[in-house]
Amino acid sequence: MPFTYTPSAADWGRVAPELVIAGGGLLLLVADLLLPSARKGWLAWLSLAVLLGGFAATITLFVVGDSSEAFAGMVTDDWLALVGNLIILSAGFLAVLLSPGYIERQEVTQRGEYYALLLFAVSGMLLLVSATNFMTIFLGVEILSLALYILSAFIAGRSKSQEAGMKYFLLSSFASGFLLYGMALIYGSTGTTGLSKMNTFLTAHAPKLTQGVFGNDFGPMLVVGLGLLAVGFAFKVSAIPFHAWTPDVYEGAPTSITAFMSAGTKAAAFIALARTFMVALHPVGTSWSGIFWAIAIVTMVGGNILAATQTNVKRMLAYSSIAHAGYILVGVVLNNSVGLASVLFYLGAYTFMNIGAFAVVLALERSAGQGTELSDYAGLSKRQPVLAGVMALFLLALAGFPGTAGFPAKWYVFYGAITSGHLELAIIGLLASVLGFFYYLRVIWAMYFTEGREPGSARSGTMATEVRERELAAAGSVSSSRRSGRSAQTATSKTTPARKAQQGEKGATLRLPVGAWLALVLCALVTIGLGIYPSGLIELARHAATLLP
């Protein structure tokens, strides 16, 4: 068919969300040129409009879509893709909401390019989740990666940002090489790069593989391909030991991008991973699930252990995202529909709670990346009770406490594990999350149980002195925070909650633009909403997972 297939209009319709977003990105570039510099603030709203358009397209596809492949098996609009679209669009939406005040504070001037790249990254992710061919998967990965390299390095004056961009670029390209090599070898084994054909081929010929690697024709090459592909995907989802880029990039990148990356990339990569392994390579599940089994365990335990002693909150959240990748991988290991549904649900829940947490980090971050240390959170509950409250909510959600989205997410994953006979994963995962409590609660502890402002009032030993020292060090950055306050004021004047919160304190000035508040509120509402009534998303995920037996 490759030589004869002619794309139809329906094919283009099935990629409507991708088209809307990518077109929106181009539109934004044009708008950037046309808008006078005083009106650049509109770019954010325009991006939001584009993303809403993406939502509309996705929802339209939910209703009228036929869940079938387009462009000769290149992409699909099945529910797995559509649910992924929703998650990614949400991540993008939230990231855009968070951006305006923040990027001004970080003295980013090229706002048009920023939003355009964000949208292109979103389009890459959308492509990735709907891709049903190694080519489109590869292209999706590369589009989002390229956009994110640039976005990570976006803050010109910040060497950490550049370092992040550089590291991300080098390592991600390196990993892409592995991914690609894996694709090549699997292509060599199965004769196709299309996932559905691959599935058909493997269903017919996989029984040979169960006899072992050796003694059959394509087996050894296939498993090398599987391994290399797994490595490539594991890098993208930042699973240990392919995680090393994550903390550095997350720390160095602009926080709005970190937030977006942590949720969006993860979701897109996981869905592509799920589609590749759980759907296409389902017949050879026994050959790859062992790898993910080990990776999942190492990631759950290692991510939590590594996070345990972090003092930089942003970095801590990076490690926590590694740990969460481990939990999600549990769903992948299962290689069945429950596992797939749990992966989807987890990603949906994770997006909101994690972006929410990063949103608070962002709100507290001063220029030049200051203000993300644990000591900067000391006594936050007194200075910023609302921010501290929602941060506590997100952290508890990440820790998996009931009443928040994190609980049904963990429940689903571990329910899947147990019902599929992987009790050990459930036990290890849950014990690892006890470690998780430790560091999540440490942030809460800093916010609620320590006194940030008055030296000498903090009670417990080493931490208190540390807090004081950091406070002294932070005194130097007062001028910058004043500047950021002013610029934030220009962005919006409707900062009632922030102002209200501000009245309780004397020194610090912190005003969040309305977009950031909106994002925080959205994240908080969804986090609680999914905690109390997760059924809607569960049903979506379950429907999407009917791809699998």
Partner: protein, 540 residues
């Protein structure tokens, strides 16, 4: 059938009141919280009053089966003869704790009250949930407010205590989570091809489980409950948390939260895994005995009186555990009664300890002496609480302990004897406590003298007494008529699997007329002038 959702209202009333307290003016917060806490008590009383003691099924059941159909989970609550008293206890102790907060908590009052009410809601939910998912949700909901309450309003080592508390309990609960899911899955598998995943307690109870499965599941639940109830050697968090938490929070922790664990043992470990329970009874009883004796010996040597009470709590909860795992009517009914009693008594003790700490700023017994002279009223209530705690016959704890230990004794004489031994060290350390504070020569210097000079070390005032009063009344009421409680439990306890029905002693086996049902309390002042039947050989 639509009826007034009384149980849900009881659970969620504190939650809503707690949320609303955040938006109230600061001055209204305390009366508001107290008001709703008391309303909850009233509702609990209404619930108790309309409870049908002659039915062994769950009552006031509310069910929304399609809460999360994807998980096979519904919202369902219900109450039986066991949980009803614990609900009453919880509402009462919560109201007392909030009442005690009126003057002892003055920083960030709104957050504090919101968390207290949330904690209350969590505990109530645990007692009333009849779905394991819901149960687990409430179980964890208890944890967070407790963490914040200890960590924010606690003493100097509050942070350490709070984190230790959370990590210990969370580790236990997560293992329980594994157990819960596994149980549901097993239910699904054992149900054959049409088996469904469910966590409904009633359905789970009919799951056929092999003994090995039962034992592993039991141990998973055990992890959560044993930590929370403070069974030695998993109790390490308990003294720290009790000591460092502010008094009202300590009350909530010791008075009601530990009961959730004991209740969990009864409802889930015993209720769902009778086979494993039967196998593991020696383990449980030995741990209980160790807790009893170890807690008692450690209580003997503490100089910090909150710590002393904490260890006494470990010891006394050991008795509860011992009773529950006696697996007979008296053991379990006594155990549940003893839960209520322990809640009342430990609350009174901690309240009094809190009063004393608030006055003097110290918790060291050595700093006190001869305070009965200056604090006669406090001395009296203290003595009553201490006597209740040491199990003085005629007071509440005795009733509970007696019935419990009788049950234990019937089940196993050795555990019975070792459990009964608790009364000796209990008397010792509690009187040491009382003597150290209230008796002996007054100190010549130190914080107590300083407080007296400042004029803050006054005797009990009426507000403080008012908070204590319901507890004191209950100490006597339950002591004098515990039968009201045990008989209401009878049906529910007998509905538990594996519980030995009481049999007539062997010597009487041939007397069919000695039927329980026939024995009714005699009307007041009935003269039983029957001829005395003793015959003596002197005349023979």
């Amino acid at each position: 059938m639509i009826h007034f959702p009384l149980l849900s209202v009881i659970i969620f009333l504190p939650l809503v009141a707690g949320a609303l307290v955040l938006v109230l003016p600061r001055g209204w917060a305390k009366p508001w919280a107290l008001f709703w806490a008391i309303i909850d008590v009233v509702l609990a009383i209404i619930l108790t009053a309309s409870f049908d003691v002659n039915a062994n099924r769950l009552q006031f059941v509310e069910s929304i089966p399609n809460w999360i159909p994807g998980f096979g989970v519904g919202y369902s609550v219900g109450v039986d003869g066991i949980s009803i008293f614990l609900v009453g206890l919880t509402t009462l102790i919560s109201a007392v704790a909030i009442g005690a907060s009126l003057w002892s908590i003055n920083t960030r009052v709104k957050e504090y009250l919101a968390l207290m009410l949330l904690l209350e809601a969590g505990v109530l939910g645990v007692f009333l949930a009849t779905n394991l998912f819901l149960f687990y949700v409430f179980w964890e909901v208890m944890l967070i407010p407790a963490y914040f309450l200890i960590g924010t309003w606690g003493g100097p080592r509050r942070v350490y205590a709070a984190i230790k508390f959370v990590l210990y309990t969370a580790a236990g609960s997560l293992l329980m989570l594994v157990g819960i899911i596994t149980l549901g899955v097993l239910h699904q598998f054992h149900g054959g091809p049409h088996g469904t995943f469910t966590l409904d307690l009633v359905q789970l109870a009919q799951t056929p489980l092999s003994n090995t499965e039962q034992i592993w599941l039991f141990l998973a639940f055990f992890a959560a409950f044993a930590v929370k109830v403070g069974l030695v050697p998993l109790h390490s968090w308990l003294p720290d948390a009790y000591t460092e938490a502010p008094t009202p929070v300590t009350i909530m922790l010791s008075g009601v939260m530990t009961k959730t664990a004991a209740y969990g043992f009864l409802r889930f470990c015993i209720g769902l895994f009778p086979g494993a329970t039967h196998t593991l009874v020696p383990l449980m009883e030995i741990l209980a005995v160790v807790s009893i004796l170890y807690g008692a010996v450690l209580a003997l040597v503490q100089s910090d009186f909150k710590r002393l009470i904490a260890y006494s709590s470990i010891s006394h909860l050991g008795v509860v555990m011992l009773g529950l795992f006696a697996l007979n009517t008296q053991g379990i009914e006594g155990g549940v009664l003893q839960m209520v009693n322990h809640g009342i008594t430990i609350t009174a003790l901690f309240l009094i300890a809190g009063y004393m700490e608030l006055r003097t700023g110290t918790r060291k017994i050595e700093d006190f002496g001869g305070q009965a002279l200056r604090w006669p009223a406090l001395a009296i209530v203290f003595l009553i609480a201490a006597l209740s705690s040491l199990g003085l016959p005629g007071l509440n704890s005795f009733a509970g302990e007696f019935v419990t230990l009788l049950g234990v004794f019937r089940a196993n004489v050795v555990y019975g004897v070792l459990g009964t031994l608790v009364v000796i060290p209990a008397a010792w350390y509690l009187l040491r406590f009382f003597q150290g504070i209230m008796q002996g020569p007054a100190p010549e210097r130190g914080p107590v003298v300083a407080a007296e000079r400042k004029g803050v070390a006054k005797d009990l005032d009426l507000n403080e007494l008012a908070v204590l009063l319901p507890l004191l009344v209950l100490i006597f009421v339950i002591g004098l008529a515990p039968g009201q409680f045990t008989s209401a439990m009878d049906r529910s306890v007998h509905a538990l699997p594996g519980v030995q029905q009481t049999q007539a002693p062997p010597a009487l086996a041939h007397e069919p007329s000695r039927d329980n049902s026939r024995i009714r309390p005699a009307p007041l002042q009935q003269q039983v002038n029957q001829p005395y039947v003793l015959v003596f050989n002197r005349g023979v």
